[in-house]
Each structure stands twice: as structure tokens, then as C-alpha cells.
Amino acid sequence: AQSVAQPEDQVNVAEGNPLTVKCTYSVSGNPYLFWYVQYPNRGLQFLLKYITGDNLVKGSYGFEAEFNKSQTSFHLKKPSALVSDSALYFCAVLTSDTGRRALTFGSGTRLQVQP
């Protein structure tokens, strides 16, 4: 079985400040980890992924995420938030093991960036 937890329903941050959106996961086997963003009335937009290699992954729009195997975490970060980053963010996981090939998503975190 695989699962994802996003412990914060909402994160509030001032424009220009760094932001972190938390994600922890549970899988058997090696994890493939993803972050997606969803704007109102739109589909999910891919931000970045971790498959293997460097634990710090850089993605679209200045976002990055750090894979931490010992803490089973994959937190999303950005050094300086923009008002336009306000959206719903989803963490998702796949396992490298055979079997389940579809993504398991967290419940989402709403990011609100105040001007």
C-alpha cells in the first residue's frame, strides 16, 4: 500500500518570504515523488518530480523540493513567494515496485500568498 500525508490544509505566507509545503509518504519499495499545482477550475499542472539521484529537485516557476529518505518526506519549497503562487498544491507518490502504477495523492494544501 502507498499513502501520502499533507499535514497542513492551508499555508499562509507574505509575498517575498520563503515558503514550504509539507509532504510525507509511505510506500513499499523506492518512491517516485511528484508535486502538482491546481489553479481554480483547471486541471493539475506538473511542477517537479524525484525519481533518483540528487535529493534536491528543481522544477517549474522557481519551486524546488527536497527528498529525505530517513524522514520519508518530500517538502516543496520556494525562496521567495509570489502572489501568483496562490493555489492548491498536491503531493503524489508512485512506487518502483511492480503492481500499482497510478499516483496516490495527498489531500492537498492551499497556499495563500498575501501582498
Binding site: 501520502v4 500499482r100 497510478a102
Partner: protein, 113 residues
């Protein structure tokens, strides 16, 4: 290039009716996925196709739900005898191969009255 497209964007139907939702994946993508997203929740897996065959349909909630992908490209999700609890956004995604990045369409918002 063109992304994943889904039609219709919105569908309102009455309880007990039959509906079809269509997904057109990115050209050349062999894997196609259907998810359902209820209000305030993350997407939940329904079914995925590798080519023409349903490789995993373990997420379909019951036998009222069925999906096909006859030519290995466009897919149709079919819901019989709709219930109010089926109201949700139905998302389609495709990937070049399984376990690679999935790209999502804009979704079909289904409302069952």
C-alpha cells in the same frame, strides 16, 4: 504541443441517467489514467490503460463504472445509472510510459441532480 483534452468540460445529468466522458491524451502517450476528485480532496485513482487494455481497474467504485480505449488513444469513461454521489470532477492523465510523469487534462465536472 497539444495537451490532454477532455470533453465535455461540464455535464449536468439527472439521477439514473447514463453519461460518457471523453479523454484525448497527448499524442504518442501509451498510458492513460482516469481519476476522480471530490470537493476538497485529492484525486483518487479509478482505472489505467496501457495501450488498449485496462491494466488496472481496481479503483472503479462499482460495476456502474466502465472505461474503454479501443484504439489505444482516446478513452471514454462510462457511468450507468448515475447517482448523486457520482458528482465530482473526473480527471484524465496520460504519460509516455507507465511510471513516467503524468500530464492531466482540465477535467470534466459532473453534477448529478
Amino acid at each position: 504541443g497539444a495537451g490532454v483534452s477532455q470533453t465535455p468540460s461540464n455535464k449536468v445529468t439527472e439521477k439514473g441517467k447514463y453519461v460518457e466522458l471523453r479523454c484525448d491524451p497527448i499524442s504518442g502517450h501509451t498510458a492513460l489514467y482516469w481519476y476522480r476528485q471530490s470537493l476538497g480532496q485529492g484525486p483518487e485513482f479509478l482505472i489505467y490503460f496501457q495501450g488498449t487494455g485496462a491494466a488496472d481497474d481496481s479503483g472503479l467504485p462499482n460495476d456502474r463504472f466502465f472505461a474503454v480505449r479501443p484504439e489505444g488513444s482516446v478513452s471514454t469513461l462510462k457511468i450507468q445509472r448515475t447517482e448523486r454521489g457520482d458528482s465530482a470532477v473526473y480527471l484524465c492523465a496520460s504519460s509516455l510510459r507507465v511510471q513516467e510523469t503524468q500530464y492531466f487534462g482540465p477535467g470534466t465536472r459532473l453534477l448529478v441532480l
